[in-house]
């Protein structure tokens, strides 16, 4: 499997000298095509920061980030925005949708702002996969939390991005909705050949992923391939006590 996104010596320091916080400390990591990776770690370990840097939402203090071999850490705002629009998809923990737009308009929003006609065949397939076909004309406030997150997931996929970034996507959902969303995300990787990088602190959510990366104090503590939920829990406990 080929590498899609890769971070070399990635460091992120917030604040000035005395009060500075090193959120990411010289991280080297790569994500491969068609892989579902969960990033875990205690609160404050740098999960979100890593995701933001990889996704071009934040700039690293030093180090490089390659998207299919091209360094994106040095791009200007406009170029970076274009990459987010065309190559990345996003699912956030909350407030994923524009309240004034219908579900359908939200899903096709990235295409619309690019001034492109969305690939309707593909959108239809995605919509059916996330099972919100009957909710397309509704506005976000008429949808349940789970439905909103699934619409967000559909939006993230609608442009066939290289990578989908998700930050605690199921963090606000009840267990049933949570399971539905994660199942869907997993099937997206397996059936529709997508690549997902997901931040979570929940071992159950992480168990849907094929790879789990543990962070601690801004460094990679472990990198597990196909762990079971028990293995994950054990690792988290070990990390927390260490």
């Amino acid at each position: 499997m080929s590498k899609i996104i890769e971070a070399n010596n990635l460091t992120k320091i917030y604040g000035e000298k005395e009060t500075s916080v090193t959120a990411l400390d010289d991280i080297n990591i790569e994500f491969r095509e068609n892989e579902f990776t969960a990033i875990m770690g205690p609160s404050g370990s740098g999960k979100s920061t890593l995701l933001h840097c990889l996704a071009g939402l934040d700039r690293p203090s030093s180090g490089k980030i390659f998207l299919k071999g091209n360094d994106i850490a040095t791009l200007n705002d406009k170029e970076l925005t274009k990459i987010r629009r065309d190559s990345f998809g996003f699912i956030f923990q909350a407030f994923n949708l524009i309240p004034t737009l219908t579900a359908e308009e939200n899903i096709t929003l990235p295409a619309s702002i690019a001034g492109r006609q969305p690939d309707l065949e593909w959108v239809k397939e995605v919509v059916e996969t996330v099972d919100i076909a009957d909710r397309l004309t509704h506005r976000p406030n008429e949808l349940s939390g789970g439905q909103q997150q699934r619409v967000a997931a559909a939006r993230a996929m609608a442009t066939k991005p290289e990578v989908i970034f998700a930050d605690e996507p199921s963090g606000n959902l009840d267990s049933k909705s949570s399971r539905e969303l994660l199942t869907f995300m997993k099937s997206v990787v397996e059936e529709l050949n997508q690549t997902i990088v997901m931040v979570t602190h929940d071992p159950y959510a992480a168990s849907f992923a094929g790879r789990v990366v543990m962070l601690k104090d801004g460094r990679i503590a472990s990198d597990l391939e196909k762990p079971t939920q028990e293995e994950i829990v054990a690792e988290v406990t070990a990390l927390t006590n260490a």
Binding site: H52, L57, D58, F92, N96, T100, L101
Partner: protein, 869 residues
């Protein structure tokens, strides 16, 4: 420093303001502007008042009494009362001998004559005659002061004129047209121009208004200004130990029938007073505009306060949670508004002073000479400005303060800035419809004659009705925001795609806010389009009138009726010799005596009835061709009770008495040149030297070549001007447009104020959508696109306000013109180009207002927007 330290809320209020200077500026911008206009107009009129005081005391400086000839009522036209109708050219004067007589009276220290007439400086530039004048001000010729007591003129350079070939020029004219001592200058006084040498440059209070003055040696002045052996008035200085009133009576006794003696100092005060009244009127108009700005301002202050307080919901609710009472919050907000209003009004006064200085400089630059003098700011004006500014600001903050005080302590803990759901707009709609219906009924009641309220004139009823309609529509606007934006939806989405959709959705999201922001703009646009339609209609009316009544291709007349008594007859002859001239009519006029009173007798060619629109009242133009036939104006016939066949005895100068028979009564539809008319052919008593007052003529075919030819002929006669129909229409239009531009200038202040409202609303809208905008940026929206979205949103607000205002203004103007139909206003015309120009200006203003919020939105930190704690 403030002694408020024992009162923590005042401290918080003060700190808040110190921390957010921009906030003060945004909130009080409208107050600053309104107060500034009040102050500026006040300074302006006060300063001019004191300048006019100085001017008139300057004119009468050192003089105790002024002796004037008693004028016939009929000649008033000349002395400035400017009544309608033909003006008499005969002004009574005082014979020279009277000066001596007065001088010899006991108690008279000095008496000297003054000669005033019309004289025009002329410059020949590249073979063309240019009449030199300062704007619209008149051009005078007068005698150089002949007494050592005279203080009216001060020589700045050179010396007094001593002979027939010398002249002194006023300094403003000399400066403007670059004349110096020893230069030659041509002066047109009477019919023939003559050349003089400038021997002096002088200044006087007389020249302060911009009039040009040519000062001649005394005898020369008398000769040139048609006053040989006569003077226009006599100035008298009374001996110190004599009573002015006694001397006044003595002089009157010399010839009480022909002499009128006035006390110079009283006259100075009186004349200054009458001008001051005019200035007061102007001041009132300016204050009305300031009032409009402040009214719009009140809307905006209220809006801004609500917005600012909404942004501080968390802070306020924290205060509440910490145990601050509702009442204290209320007071906190009010004291903030008090600080703001003081600062705002203060800035307004400062800006007003600046504005007054700028206006003064501007007027001086354009040479619309108002008398010089220092700028005066009265303490009353300053206090009025301060009080208005403070009161309006505090009143406007009452409601928002109340709302703010009701914030729940829980709000601080919740994470949301969303506005609570408000009452439905339905009640508002019903009230608005009810109110505007009342207005419509009042208005249409007059137009369609079904309702006539007692004590109100038709015009007043329409005016009040329009006002009530306006209030009603203002109440309705929030309810019609959605349908209005809906109309635009499709178009905006077609043009701007998803950004258009987002922008229109946002405007619909807060209809109240969109509407109240648009209302501020609506007020200005209503007045602007009202002014636009009214003046456009007047223009169209004038155009159709001129087209109706002037049948001639060209009209020739004096360029400045005061400077030249008429047109040398050679011009008519030269024109008639042209093959292209098909028809020409001459008009001459002279003063004749009728029933012991002076009247103007005109002599015309028969062709005048083809070239000027006249309506037969009795008799026909055929009857007018007979010997001794007299044509008379309809209104003169009515006044003098004359009928066809009546005999009329006229006393004609240098001819004696002649009897005429009234044979034709007609209506002269433009300004008539005389009251009685005879045929020029039949009137040997109009000698060949006499001057034509007006020429009308037609040509076989208008062309540029012909026009050039005619112009070159006319150019040989200085002081004569040729106009064609277009020229007349243009002249009328220019005057109307000038007035309109002044009104536009003032009303644009209200647009300017509305602009701040748009900025505030958009800022809030951006603030409320922090997350939304962050999300859009995260998923790949360019900064440029975010900015565009805000611009689009702003354009919706401004189009909404402009469309409503324009619609209302046009409707009000239509109603007004309908009401005035009985007074002869029949034309309703809308200038489409100006209408769209103002809508365009509103949209541009809206976009300008959106610049700051748009930049802020596009710079928003993405991570802050999407982070969730």
């Amino acid at each position: 420093m403030f002694g408020f330290t024992k009162r923590p809320l005042f401290l918080i209020a003060w700190k808040n303001l110190k921390t957010y200077p921009v906030r003060i500026f945004l909130t009080t911008s409208s107050i600053i502007l309104g107060v500034a206009v009040i102050i500026a107009s006040n300074i302006f009129s006060e300063s001019n008042k004191s300048a006019f005081d100085n001017l008139f005391s300057g004119i009468y400086e050192g003089i105790d009494l002024v002796v004037q000839p008693v004028q016939e009522d009929f000649a008033q036209g000349f002395s400035g009362d400017g009544g309608q109708g033909p003006i008499s050219f005969e002004v009574k004067k005082i014979p020279d001998e009277k000066i001596k007589e007065i001088q010899d009276l006991p108690g008279v220290r000095a008496a000297w004559g003054e000669v005033i007439g019309f004289a025009q400086f002329i410059k020949i530039v590249d073979g063309e005659t240019v009449l030199l004048s300062n704007g619209f001000a008149p051009t005078f010729g007068t005698a150089w002061d002949s007494s050592e007591y005279a203080k009216q003129w001060t020589l700045l350079e050179g010396r007094a004129p001593l002979n027939k070939k010398e002249v002194v020029m006023d300094t403003v004219t000399a400066e403007n047209f670059e004349f110096d001592i020893d230069d030659k200058v041509t002066v047109l006084a009477g019919a023939t121009p003559a050349t003089f040498t400038i021997v002096g440059i002088a200044d006087s209070a007389f020249a302060a208004g911009g009039a040009t003055f040519a000062l001649f040696e005394f005898r020369t002045a008398q000769q040139l200004l048609d006053s040989t052996g006569e003077v226009n008035l006599i100035n008298v200085v009374v001996e110190d130990n004599f009573d002015v009133t006694d001397v006044k009576n003595e002089i009157t006794d010399i010839d009480s029938e022909n002499l009128n003696v006035i006390n110079a100092q009283e006259a100075a005060a009186e004349q200054a007073d009458s001008i001051k009244q005019g200035l007061d009127f102007f001041n009132t108009i300016l204050n009305v505009f300031a009032g409009i700005a402040i009214f719009v301002g009140a809307f905006i202050i209220q809006n801004t306060f609500r917005i600012l307080l909404l942004q501080r919901t968390k802070e306020l609710s924290l205060l509440r949670a910490l145990g601050t009472s509702k009442r204290q919050i209320y007071r906190l907000v009010i004291s903030e508004s008090l600080f703001m209003s003081i600062i705002g009004s203060g800035l307004g006064i400062g800006l007003g002073i600046g504005l007054a200085v700028a206006v003064k400089e501007g007027l001086q630059y354009f040479e619309l000479g108002l008398p010089d003098g220092p700028l005066v700011l009265t303490s009353e004006a300053a206090i009025t400005g301060l009080i208005i500014g403070i009161t309006v600001t505090i009143l406007s903050s009452l409601l928002p303060a109340r709302k703010a005080s009701q914030v729940s302590p829980m709000e601080a803990i919740r994470d949301s800035v969303s506005t609570p759901r408000r009452k439905s707009l339905f009640t508002r709609l019903v009230i608005g419809i009810a109110v505007s219906s009342i207005g419509f009924i009042m208005l249409f009641g007059v137009l369609y004659d079904f309702l006539d309220l007692p004590t109100l004139s038709g015009l007043q009823q329409v005016g009040f009705g329009a006002g009530i309609v306006f209030v009603g529509i203002s109440i309705i606007t929030p309810s019609i925001t959605k349908p209005f934006v809906f109309l635009f939806d499709r178009i905006y989405i077609l043009i701007f795609g998803i950004l258009g959709k987002l922008a229109t959705e946002n405007s619909k999201r807060t209809p109240r806010r969109t509407a109240s922001t648009a209302s501020a703009l609506m007020i200005g646009l209503t007045l602007i389009s009202l002014a636009n339609v009214i003046t456009t209609s007047f223009k169209a009316q004038a155009e159709s009138l001129i087209g109706e009544v002037i049948l001639a291709d060209y009209q020739v007349g004096a360029a400045n009726v005061f400077a030249s008594p008429g047109i040398p007859t050679g011009l008519a002859n030269e024109l008639m010799e042209l093959d292209e001239v098909t028809k020409l009519s001459r008009t001459r006029a002279t003063v004749v005596g009728y029933n012991e009173r002076p009247l103007i007798l005109g002599a015309v060619d028969e062709t005048v009835f083809d070239l000027v629109k006249t309506d037969d009242i009795a008799g026909t133009r055929k009857d007018f061709l007979k010997q001794n036939a007299l044509g008379i104006l309809k209104q003169t016939a009515e006044r003098e009770e004359l009928q066809i066949g009546d005999e009329v005895l006229l006393t004609i100068p240098e001819e004696g008495q002649l009897t005429f028979t009234v044979s034709y009564i007609f209506d002269w539809t433009t300004q008539p040149p005389a009251e009685f008319f005879v045929l020029l052919e039949n009137s040997s008593f109009f000698s060949e030297e006499s001057l034509d007052t007006e020429l009308y003529f037609n040509v076989n075919e208008k062309s540029d070549v012909l026009e050039e030819k005619i112009n070159s002929i006319v150019a040989e006669y200085p002081g004569v001007e040729i106009r064609d129909e277009e020229g007349l229409v243009e002249e009328a239009n220019n005057q109307i447009q000038l007035l309109l531009n002044v009104i536009y200038g003032f009303l644009s202040i209200s647009i300017f104020v509305a602009l701040f409202g748009i900025t505030n609303t958009l800022s809030l809208s951006v603030y409320e959508r922090t997350r939304e905008i962050g999300l859009m940026r995260a998923i790949g929206t360019y900064r440029k696109q975010i900015r565009r979205m805000i611009f689009i949103e702003s354009s919706i607000i401004s189009i909404f306000g402009a469309a409503l205002g324009t619609g209302l203004g046009i409707f009000f103007a239509w109603s007004l013109i309908q009401t005035l139909a009985d007074d002869g206003f029949t034309v309703f015309a809308v200038s489409i180009s100006q209408t769209f120009m103002w809508i365009g200006i509103s949209i541009i203003a809206g976009v300008i207002a959106a610049i700051l919020p748009a930049i802020r939105a596009s710079r928003q930190n993405i991570l802050e927007a999407i982070s969730y704690e």
